[in-house]
């Protein structure tokens, strides 16, 4: 088993990084009533861990017995019948799902599926909880319509059901939904905290950590704890005992994106744009989410960019990211961003160096 899973805290008591949050959550639950919750924070900060621990706290070990289902829901929209397929992870007490998987039909998932589930009270009332929990992941990717449908559900069925929403950015969740939830911000752990965790794991695994090694990995992980642990293990797989200057190999896709950024910076021509498009396709085909590509690409470009241009480029990156979200064909927007960048950068080069 990977360390990242092996050392994931299973209960609120064992949570180390966000112990304050964990304590509060425990108190919240022990008071018998639990509001809807919205966990938000960057990825790798521990939201999911907290949620799982919280559920366990609420329902005990029964919540750990989960099963995985792929369900096909048939939804009658009036004019036609949709078939929506959703994977859900359910235990006796909770159901976890990712409604944004339904793409632009997520509205129906919320309207029909979630409502359907929320409506039904749990059969056995003898348990201590009279409600069940619906965990919805990636709510920030839900369309606006779906979020609107969600808010009524949250009020109407609050007697039998609690929602736990999980997302990266609360700004993409509508105000209405946010105000119905207790918002729990989960910060990215600081590098010190990450180092602590790594050292803890190292101790458990009986590893010799050279000085500064954990700190370097923490820095490389960009304050993403999960990534840090994965890097750590990658290093272990790659070479053990560790050498003092050992660094984790970069993630495959990040490496590819930084190659793209080098391509763009070295030559700005239609030919290069075409080559870049091929590389984008390569990434997309390999299931890399376009937002991550754009974000990483921007970060890479900014590293080597003249300060004068940074602001403008950031503006355009944001512009195209927004459009990408509104649109459906990500490659068009990625390409448009690169074309824009090339055009600006080339103009800049010609202006400054002839």
């Amino acid at each position: 088993m990977l360390w990242v899973d092996k050392y994931r805290p299973k209960t609120l008591d064992k949570v180390t990084v966000h112990d304050q949050v964990a304590q509060n959550l425990r108190k919240l639950v022990s008071e018998q009533d639990c509001p809807h919750l919205l966990f938000y924070g960057p990825s790798g900060s521990g939201k999911k861990t907290l949620i799982l621990a919280l559920i366990k706290q609420m329902f005990g070990a029964g919540a750990e017995k989960v099963k995985m289902e792929n369900k096909t829901w048939k939804i009658d929209t009036g004019t036609r019948t949709l078939e929506i397929e959703l994977a859900m992870l359910s235990s006796a007490h909770h159901v976890e799902m990712n409604p944004s998987d339904a793409g632009f039909q997520d509205r129906y998932v919320v309207q029909e599926v979630i409502k359907e589930m929320a409506k039904n009270r749990p059969i056995d009332a003898k348990g201590k909880r009279a409600f069940k929990v619906l965990v919805l992941n990636e709510v920030d990717k839900l369309s606006r319509e779906a979020q609107h449908s969600l808010r009524r559900t949250m009020e109407k069925y609050s007697a039998s059901c609690r929602l736990i929403l999980c997302c990266n950015s609360s700004s993409k969740v509508t105000e209405a939904v946010r105000s119905r939830c207790l918002n729990v911000r989960v910060n990215a752990p600081s590098e010190d905290q990450i180092v602590q965790v790594l050292e803890f794991i190292g101790k458990k695994e009986n590893l010799q950590l050279p000085a500064g090694f954990a700190a370097r990995i923490a820095a490389q992980s960009n304050r993403n704890l999960r990534r840090a642990i994965l890097f750590f293990e990658t290093c272990k797989v790659q070479q053990y005992p560790f050498t003092s200057n050992q660094a984790a190999p970069p993630l495959d896709w990040e490496q590819y994106v930084s190659e793209i950024s080098t391509d763009i910076l070295t030559e700005q021509s239609p030919k290069r744009l075409y080559a870049v498009r091929q590389k984008f396709y390569e990434l997309l085909v390999n299931c890399i989410p376009p937002e991550s590509i754009l974000k990483k690409l921007l970060a890479e470009l900014l590293k080597k960019l003249d300060a004068d241009l940074k602001h403008e480029i950031c503006h355009w990156a944001a512009h195209y990211e927004h459009k990408m979200r509104l649109g459906s064909k990500a490659i068009f927007h990625l390409e448009a961003f690169v074309a824009k960048f090339m055009s600006i950068y080339k103009e800049f080069l010609v202006a400054s160096f002839g």
């Binding site: 989960v66 289902e69 096909t72 048939k74 790659q238 090339m342 103009e347």
Partner: protein
């Protein structure tokens, strides 16, 4: 300077100057010298002027402004004007005449002056030239085609005559010109002076040249001359390279308008190669080989201009003006001149005679007019004998042979059953004619049967052709309504007995491809009819690849009709026009044939309609008329994109662009997106650094991205009114920014638009996401990790891959395999997941993760994994072969397979109830909606014995299981949930 020229030209036209030697038209002004000029003074036949005046499309005089710098649109318009002018010709004629007279008065000095001004050289040339041509005239063979119509007149030798003349000319020329490339310059356009070829006013034109390699350098600067109608008839041109002032399309139009023909490649029949520069290509080489003379654009203009029947005096004046200018420029005696002159003389003659003819035939026509009945021409001229059928003669022949031998094959061959086998000598009992509408399929069938003395019984879409009463035997050939059936069966039954009384019959099933809509079982019935039929059956359809006809095709002899060529059709149309007393130009008819895309019926309808208002049909009439009522044609998305991105894409009208963009609103934007990078826009002008092109690219890309947004609105929110906006943003704007020449970006790529790559990548992406989702759900089901798919891809995958492949690379085989299999088991990863992980970690240009793994190790891994599979815990819903079920499940089963030990103790009432639910849904998978569930359960239990532990997830406590299952269970209730039932228990289509 150009304005001078224009003025000059215009005058000429007004005057309608034509034949006189004075009429040297083209004389360009300053730089240009008019070389060809002189020519045929004496020879001009008397008749021309007046008669031709009528035809003279003088309405078309376009001002240079009008014409300048624009696209074919303008020329269309212009054409329209011209046509309009022409149709009102008669009424206007008087006016024109008056005008002409006035002008005549104005410039009556002319002739002599001009001659004097010419240089000696010119004179020499002229003399040389004129002489032979005169001599030649008598020799000329009698009329070629056209003359047929007007046979009473001595028609000028058109093609042949000219050719002869030319050959001789050429010889002359050879003799005269010192070999050298003089030929090239030949185009009257001051070739001598400017080696560049394009030479007319060196300095002034630069401004138009930028970027656009293909644009004529003096676009719109020259006035297009007018000439006598048909002055080019019988001549065949091939256009090569860029012309001086005309777009190719314009030149083609011009030539066609005057009765010439334009072909794509050089052959012996080619009269001229029209080229202004760019010698050395395939065409020009071939032309030299074949001795085809070259002609420049100016030369062409001269030809046309000269042909214009004119009043001599007028010309003279004109020419004197011109010739002064001419003097300045050096005239090299280039071969072109000679050609032109020769040509001119020939043409003049022909025109003269023609105009006679015209007037004569006009009279005829009037007489004939009375004859015209009200009958539709399409009926009236329906072919009566097979030979009348235009084109497809071989098909007609085949059909004929087939019909003829039908009896022998299927009736008199002794064995009755023989015919039922389609393999019978390769002969089939029925025949299927296919081809586009209007090319005479039905007619062919009828005519041929008629010729063979068969009685044709036609059944078409207007008859009900549903399956007849289930007893086809009752009505032989009777896939038809009862009356028809009876008819046929009678005919058939009687056929053998009293042949004398009853003609043999043939069944023509028209429009079979329209059959299955309302006619249930029609095709199947038709087939069975064919099998037992005792008469031949001819089926007719438009699309032989239609899905509906697939079964029919096996029983039929396929005869595929093609569109007749425009020549074939033109000929036939001419005949008809002649019979109807319409004065029609041959190439007008060909144009008509082309415009209707081979649909003779439509052509005739047009013709008939036109005959109501005009008795003379010219090329321009056809153009104008069919511009609006052109037969709609499907254009492929590629054609549309080619047009939009084409070099002249900038000149398309907006409605044309929208038409192209909307021709396939899904594919066109994709192809545009795929290819816009490849174009070097011609709108940006000079662009050394490439910045401008990059800017254009960025704007185009932005617009394409906008188009995507609009498209989302359309699709997701059904805002179809935005279609045009989407088309605009995703196709038209990028095309407008980027149109130009296509470049190749990748070595080895063909320089054609690629098909949009998005669709393919999108489907691969989706496939991979699905595979990843499988792996993801396996991992989730292992309960070792809880992560989302994105995290799996972005963060976990690198390490997972290492854990899976590194041991294989570094460690000894058995140990490695052992370790990897263990790891896979921990996360419930299957062999497929392993492949998935490897697959989506591959990046082009990076080493494959599988590099360095010995095949032996790989197969050892597979083997080891398979070995463990009997005891393996696969916890995820998956495609499972459950022993005891006949076929593998098509859908995923929600069941989780658990080791027996764990699950058995847990099993209690609630759990088994749940199991029942699962089972029943499993059953449904197999399409048996068995309400009870005991049986599948048994299966499952028996499975356990067999060692593959198939067990539903019963892990949870009895208490919990109710709650856990609730969602699905409840959803079986009424309402939408109810529908979810069948599959809600979670299987999944793969």
């Amino acid at each position: 300077m150009s304005s001078d020229i224009r003025k000059w030209f215009m005058k000429t036209q007004d005057k309608g100057a034509a034949s006189s030697g004075a009429a040297k038209p083209s004389g360009a002004a300053a730089t240009e010298k008019k070389k060809p000029v002189l020519s045929i003074p004496e020879k001009k036949p008397a008749p021309p002027s007046l008669a031709s005046c009528d035809h003279d499309p003088s309405a078309r005089r376009k001002t240079s402004k009008y014409f300048g710098s624009k696209s074919e649109k303008d020329s269309d318009v212009e054409m329209a004007d011209a046509a309009a002018g022409r149709s009102t010709d008669k009424s206007a004629a008087k006016r024109k005449l008056q005008k002409g007279n006035n002008e005549l008065k104005d410039d009556s000095k002319p002739l002599p002056a001009k001659k004097m001004t010419k240089d000696d050289e010119d004179d020499d040339g002229d003399d040389d030239f004129v002489a032979p041509s005169k001599k030649k005239t008598p020799v000329k063979p009698p009329p070629s085609k056209k003359p047929k119509v007007e046979s009473n007149v001595e028609a000028p030798g058109r093609t042949t005559g000219t050719d002869d003349g030319e050959e001789e000319d050429k010889m002359d020329e050879d003799a005269k010109t010192p070999s050298k490339g003089a030929g090239r310059g030949r185009g009257g356009r001051g070739a001598a002076a400017t080696p560049g070829g394009r030479g007319r006013g060196g300095g002034g034109r630069g401004f138009m040249n930028f970027g656009e390699r293909k644009d004529p350098p003096h676009k719109g600067e020259k006035e297009v001359p007018e000439g006598a109608p048909d002055c080019l008839s019988g001549l065949t041109f091939v256009i090569s390279g860029t012309l001086d002032s005309l777009e190719r399309e314009e030149a083609t139009d011009l030539i066609k308008r005057y009765g010439g023909r334009v072909t794509g490649s050089i052959s012996k029949k080619t009269s001229y190669l029209l080229a202004d520069e760019d010698i050395g290509g395939v065409k020009s080489n071939k032309a030299k080989d074949l001795g085809v003379p070259f002609l420049t654009e100016d030369g062409l203009f001269d030809l046309i201009r000269k042909s214009k029947p004119a009043k001599a005096p007028v010309d003279k004046h004109q020419s004197s003006n011109g010739s002064e200018k001419l003097q300045k420029s050096q005239t090299k005696s280039s071969p072109a001149r000679i050609d032109k002159r020769a040509e001119a003389s020939a043409v003049d003659k022909s025109i003269a005679s023609k105009s006679n003819v015209t007037s004569a035939s006009d009279e005829n026509q009037k007489a004939k007019k009375i004859d015209r009945g009200s009958m539709q021409w399409t009926e009236k001229y329906r072919p009566k004998v097979p030979n009348d059928i235009v084109g497809n003669q071989s098909m007609v022949k085949q059909l004929h042979d087939w019909l003829k031998s039908w009896d022998t094959h299927f009736l008199h061959s002794g064995q009755k059953g023989k015919g039922k086998k389609p393999v019978d000598n390769g002969a089939k009992k029925a025949v299927l004619l296919s081809g586009p509408p209007g090319i005479g399929k039905t007619t062919t069938a009828k005519v041929v049967s008629q010729m063979l003395g068969l009685q044709a019984i036609e059944v078409n879409a207007s008859d009900s052709r549903g399956k007849a009463d289930s007893k086809i035997e009752k009505g032989v050939g009777g896939s038809t309504s009862n009356s028809i059936k009876e008819l046929i069966s009678n005919a058939t039954l009687n056929y053998g007995d009293n042949r004398a009384k009853h003609p043999k019959a043939v069944l023509i099933m028209d429009e079979v491809d329209g059959m299955s809509a309302g006619d249930r079982g029609g095709v199947a019935d038709l087939i069975s009819s064919i099998k037992i039929s005792k008469i031949p059956i001819i089926c007719i359809c438009n699309d032989r690849y239609s899905q509906k006809l697939k079964s029919l095709v096996n029983y039929c002899l396929m005869l595929n009709f093609r569109k007749p060529t425009k020549l074939q059709m033109g000929k036939r149309l001419m005949e008809i026009a002649k019979k109807e007393g319409i004065q029609a130009q041959e190439n007008a008819m060909e144009e008509l044939a082309e415009r209707v895309h081979g649909d003779i019926r439509m052509a005739l309808n047009h013709l008939q309609y036109m005959s109501l208002s005009q008795s003379v049909v010219k090329y321009d009439d056809i153009r104008v008329r069919l511009n609006s009522s052109a037969k709609d044609e499907d254009i492929s998305p590629f054609t549309a994109v080619d047009k939009l991105f084409g070099f002249n894409g900038g000149r398309l009208r907006m409605d044309e662009r929208i038409d192209y963009g909307m021709s396939d609103p899904d594919l066109v934007p994709l192809i545009i997106q795929e290819n816009y990078i490849n174009y070097r826009p011609n709108t940006i002008g000079k662009d050394e650094s490439g910045v401008k092109r990059m800017n254009a690219l960025a704007r185009a890309a932005e617009s394409i991205a906008d188009g995507d947004l609009v498209n989302v609105q359309i699709r997701r929110y059904r805002q179809w009114q935005l279609s045009q906006a989407a088309c605009f943003a995703s196709s038209i704007v990028p095309a407008a920014l980027m149109h130009g020449n296509r470049e190749v970006l990748e070595a080895g790529e063909r320089n054609f638009n690629r098909f949009g790559g998005w669709l393919g990548k999108y489907s691969t992406t989706n496939k991979n996401i699905r595979l990843l989702e499988d792996a993801h759900s396996h991992i989730l089901a292992s309960q070792q990790a809880n992560l989302d798919r994105e995290t799996l891809r972005l963060d976990y995958l690198t390490l997972l891959l290492r854990q899976l492949t590194d041991p294989l690379k570094t460690m000894p085989k058995d140990e490695a395999v052992q370790k990897v299999v263990e790891f896979m088991d921990t996360y419930s990863l299957s062999q497929e997941d392993f492949d998935t992980i490897v697959e989506i970690s591959k990046f082009k240009g990076h080493p494959s993760p599988m590099d360095g793994i010995q095949p032996a190790v790989k197969s050892a891994l597979t083997k080891a994994y398979k070995q463990g599979s009997s005891s393996r815990v696969v916890r995820a819903a998956d495609l499972i072969n459950i022993p005891g079920m006949k076929k593998p499940l098509k859908k995923r089963v929600a069941a989780i397979l658990e080791p027996v030990e764990e699950s058995l103790p847990d099993e209690n009432g609630a759990a088994s109830a749940e199991a029942d639910e699962e089972d029943s849904s499993d059953t449904e998978n197999n399409d048996e909606l068995v309400p009870g569930d005991s049986k599948p359960k048994l299966d499952l239990k028996s499975d356990k014995k067999k060692g593959i532990q198939v067990q539903l997830d019963l892990k949870s406590n009895g208490n919990d299981s109710g709650g856990k299952k609730t969602p699905a269970a409840r959803s079986r209730g009424p309402g939408s949930g109810g529908k979810a039932v069948g599959s809600s228990a979670g299987k999944r289509k793969r």
